[in-house]
């Protein structure tokens, strides 16, 4: 963990982590997120939601990160008022950025529950394709809305925002 970059208009993150995109880290970071949310906000339900958001967002980020030395991931957790925000920044291959744009645009056309059921239907109809349930699951089970911010140099930040 290290000091997080902040600007005058954004609250200081409660958690900022920067690490190599490795599968082996995900379990530990998810369980830290569970502990942190339960301890800080005192709500087991939020802790379960945090686990879903962190697990699925990090899996996507690790799976599609490119091999460059700059491909480290960043996880931020911050809170303001009655809102909580989780965001994961990564440096994916260009094809994934396009898929991410398309998937998030499709997500916005349906409410979270409809989108989750639609993702199940797609998975059952396409057994040889990858599951692609993660983003729909983050929205529905995580109780958050998703946004995508594309940054200079090909870095993207997926942000999940919801009520505490």
């Amino acid at each position: 963990m290290s000091a997080a970059p902040t600007t005058p208009n954004t609250p200081r993150p409660l958690v900022f982590m920067r690490f190599r995109p490795a599968w082996a880290y995900i379990d530990g970071i998810r369980e830290f997120g569970r502990f942190f949310c339960e301890t800080t906000f005192g709500t087991p339900a939020l802790a379960q939601r945090a686990c879903v958001v962190i697990q699925e967002a990090l899996e996507n980020a690790v799976k599609y990160s490119n091999n460059s030395p700059d491909s480290e991931l960043e996880l931020l957790i911050q809170s303001e008022g009655d809102q909580i925000e989780f965001s994961v920044s990564s440096l994916p291959d260009a094809a994934h950025i396009e898929r991410l744009r398309t998937e998030l645009a499709q997500q916005r056309t349906l409410d979270p529950e409809q989108a989750y059921v639609a993702a199940f239907l797609r998975a059952s109809n396409e057994p040889s394709e990858s599951a692609r349930l993660g983003l729909a699951r983050i929205r529905y089970e995580g109780g958050v809305e998703l946004s995508l911010h594309e940054q200079e140099g090909g870095r993207v930040r997926v942000t999940a925002t919801g009520k505490l």
């Binding site: 379990d27 939601r49 059921v117 199940f120 057994p127 349930l133 699951r137 089970e141």
Partner: protein
């Protein structure tokens, strides 16, 4: 017909798996390692084939003590229900035993039931 005693229960890190005759699988722990899901998928497929060959009417999958899974693990349950549904006459019913304590179980099995209600039943232990 499969020799039921020969069905190999895989070792999956973080997950307890019990296979109880005639047709109950009890899972406990977490499923979060994608590398293990291949083994679990093979196991489910073997149990599925065995259930058909033995003419079972139901297979129970108790997930009530599975505290967390990733979406690739949810995919395994979707696939299993799809194998049954792909038969013109579903050979057996998949009966999931779940708990209200874990959000993933409520959301995943509600969505699965919405799509596959003719081949699965969801029970709750609490």
């Amino acid at each position: 017909m499969t020799d039921i005693s020969a069905i190999e229960v895989p070792r999956v890190e973080g997950l307890g798996i019990e296979f109880i005759l005639p047709a109950t699988i009890k899972l406990s722990g977490m499923i979060t390692r994608n590398g293990s899901n291949q083994d679990l998928a093979g196991f489910f497929r073997t149990v599925h084939s065995d259930a058909i060959s033995r003419g079972l009417r139901e297979v129970f999958v108790d997930v009530s003590r599975v505290t967390f899974v990733n979406s690739s693990a949810i995919r395994l349950f979707i696939d299993w229900a799809s194998w049954i549904k792909s038969d013109q006459s579903p050979p057996y019913i998949l009966r999931f035993v779940t708990s209200r304590r874990f959000t993933w179980q409520q959301t995943a099995f509600t969505a699965l039931t919405a799509l596959m209600k003719d081949v699965l039943v969801v029970e709750r232990v609490d």
